[in-house]
């Protein structure tokens, strides 16, 4: 049974059941043991593979060498025939026949090593695929279990702390209110800064005799002058 299928079946039950049941301890142990076995068989196959590949290379070299020797002795036999040395040619032909026997044996050995190499490579590939698949299944099972257990812990923790889990709408409202409050405070503080800044600027301008406040100051100066004139005739009398 695929582990996802098992999770889907368990999802129809309660959350607590999922947390407890998804990792079938026995099945997980079997999978974990199979992973260990597969890893071991990969190690062994790799070591055999290097050995068999080395033997295949040796056979291939022997085949090349024997091909060369056969060609060499056939040349010699031909030369002997050309010199009418029948008996010598016969002897060389015997040597060539023996070399051909060796060649045939080496060719068969090379083929057999080559097929062992491909078998070992297949075996390693299959073992690696098995490991990947088992690890994936264990990961799904353990992740599901872990997520549900974490949720259980979080729920228990909220329960113990006595705080009620607010509804999503309430939470959203509270966060928004807090944000609005913060935004209002920011706006108020900006306004205050602006007002204070404006007041400071106005008084500076007035002091320099510029702007509306400056007009009022001039008006005061005119009034003082008129009052001074009003006072003068009295002084003269």
């Amino acid at each position: 049974m695929s582990v996802i299928k098992k999770v889907v079946t368990l999802l129809r039950g309660s959350a607590r059941e999922i947390a407890e049941n998804v990792v079938d301890a026995n099945a997980t142990r079997i999978y974990e043991q199979e992973i260990i076995d597969a890893k071991q068989s990969i190690l062994e196959a790799r070591s055999s593979l290097t050995d068999v590949m080395a033997r295949e290379m040796q056979s291939a070299r022997a085949v090349t060498r024997l091909d060369g020797e056969i060609a060499h002795y056939e040349g010699l036999a031909l030369e002997a025939l050309n010199k009418s040395e029948e008996a010598l040619a016969e002897e060389v032909a015997g040597k060539v026949a023996a070399l051909e026997q060796d060649l045939e044996e080496q060719r068969q050995a090379q083929q057999s090593f080559a097929s062992q190499v491909s078998q070992l490579k297949e075996l390693i590939k299959a073992a690696e695929a098995k490991i990947r698949e088992h690890e994936r299944q264990i990961a799904i099972a353990k992740t599901t279990e872990s997520v549900y257990k974490a949720t259980q812990s979080i729920s228990d923790n909220i329960g113990h702390s006595g705080s009620r889990l607010a509804s999503a709408r309430e939470s959203l409202e509270r966060i928004k209110q807090r944000h609005e409050h913060l935004a209002d405070r920011l706006q108020a503080s900006e306004q205050l800064d602006r007002e204070l800044g404006e007041k400071a600027l106005a008084s500076k301008l007035a002091a320099a005799g510029i702007g509306q406040d400056a007009d009022r100051q001039r008006q005061r100066q005119v009034m003082e002058r008129i009052r001074a004139r009003q006072a003068k005739p009295t002084e003269g009398q």
């Binding site: 309660s14 959350a15 999922i18 264990i138 990961a139 353990k142 992740t143 279990e145 872990s146 997520v147 549900y148 257990k149 974490a150 949720t151 259980q152 812990s153 979080i154 228990d156 923790n157 889990l165 607010a166 509804s167 999503a168 709408r169 309430e170 939470s171 959203l172 509270r174 966060i175 928004k176 807090r178 944000h179 913060l182």
Partner: protein, 139 residues
Amino acid sequence: MEQSLRDKLDGLDSIVGTLMGGLAVQLHPIPGPVPVVQVSIEGREELPIYVTCSDSQILCLCYLWNDSEVLTERRTELLETLLDLNPSVPLSSFGRIGDRYVLFGALALNARTADIAEDIAALSDNALDALEALSEFLQ
């Protein structure tokens, strides 16, 4: 595992805080059989992020709402919307654990603290955004 998660989260609070523009971030371990750390972000205390890990991954979770909060008549529409939204939401996916809808981000076990922090910041923003966008489906 517990210790390795704690080591990985060392300094996470300040990185998340910086990523979120200087907000205060607090980490609280949650007792239980699997390692869980609660990440509370200033101003979003109602939407904490939980970080947990299994043998194969680190998971950052944000619980959105319960099945019981979903408007019955709009349930199918909500589920389809969540499926449609899934590929579009950067770094986060919708899911359900028991009867609780979640937004989550998954990271490899060898993720760096900065990667986890980035995922948490994205998750928090996405969760708030999703809650606002999908509250029409809730009671």
